[in-house]
Amino acid sequence: MEVLIQNLYDITWQQMVMWVIGGVLIYLAIVKEMEPTLLLPMGFGAILVNLPNSGAAAVIEHLFEIGINQHELFPLLLFIGIGAMIDFQPLLTNPKLMIFGAAAQFGIFFTLCMASLFGFQLNDAASIAIIGAADGPTSIFVSQMLNSNYTAAIMVAAYSYMALVPMVQPPIIKLCTTKAERKIRMQYKGKPVSKRTKILFPIVVTIIVGLVAPDAVVLIGFLMFGNLIRECGVLNSLSETAQNVLANLITILLGITIASRMSAEEFLRFETLLIMGLGLVAFIVDTFGGVMIAKIMNLFVKEKINPMIGAAGISAFPMSARVVHKLGLEEDNQNFLLMHSIGVNVSGQIASVIAGGLILALVGG
């Protein structure tokens, strides 16, 4: 009996705050359906590791050591699944769309400067900035490679804002564009792409990125390996396994493993709030960057581009593409931007990984 009471005495108010945060994450996952695959395990894990004298903390810490800390295994394996899920056809049909993906990474580098201005060390500032990649595995990988002290806060911010893309992006897009611009119709020229191109694409991209940012080639390499399994046409069962079983299994473990960094003493600090704010800045500036490059291109091209598609250059796939398509239909119910915005969105996937690689090369080196 005394032991039971002793445990109750050991509860701290900080742990109770973490239970509330865990509860909020579970609520958002179940009721609001915001990134439930990640936010639910993270929320439950946050409660689990913040129980007094929790026996689970050591087990989850061990998972963190082998799955994330040693060789970033979980995010990399998840990338194989993501690669197998992505159809790059809209991008291969119109490769110029990749320019928008590149421009929409501006938020990452802008946030790096802002985080530095607020006094974060360069490795932490770069890890915070990578929230703007709008890509969970990339954020985990980069923050771990840079030995950031804020991995948990970065994870929570990255996944929360990815889920909030339908709320974050529309006001920014509307602020940056005129009604006339939002009404611009774009004709979709769906050209066929040869199987040879689809197979060579992941190999070529891996080689190019590997030559520029060898430290991060593992990121793009695993993504493209997954895509090669999908496109080669002779590994259908492996492709299905990567898309479903592998991705689901790793996601379950990844969410609860991240919770090992959500102990009250590590998570409840002023910097966490600052990181959440900077993450939002990253998403906003990403959106701004994508839209503005489209507006600049419109000054030079004959066939006008609807600048809203630039906003889909952030990696949050496919939410961002859907947001742009929906906004287009709101202005003109015959304006179908989905194929263009999907193409930009998948280019954002690649560009965000390249940005992660460049951050590692420039900051980690």
Binding site: L91, I99, L112, S194, V212
Partner: protein, 43 residues
């Protein structure tokens, strides 16, 4: 809260190099994909 302009000055060249790097890599990928599309056209 204190603002660290010296840290910002350290980060600015990274922003410049990073954006330049991403556009260069992207440009190379666009060129290679366009080339691949041309070479495999109609096959």
């Amino acid at each position: 809260m204190q603002l660290h302009v010296d840290y910002l000055m350290e980060a600015l060249p990274i922003m410049g190099n990073g954006m330049l790097g991403i556009f260069i890599v992207t440009g190379v990928i666009i060129a290679v994909v366009s080339l691949l599309n041309k070479l495999t056209e109609g096959k």
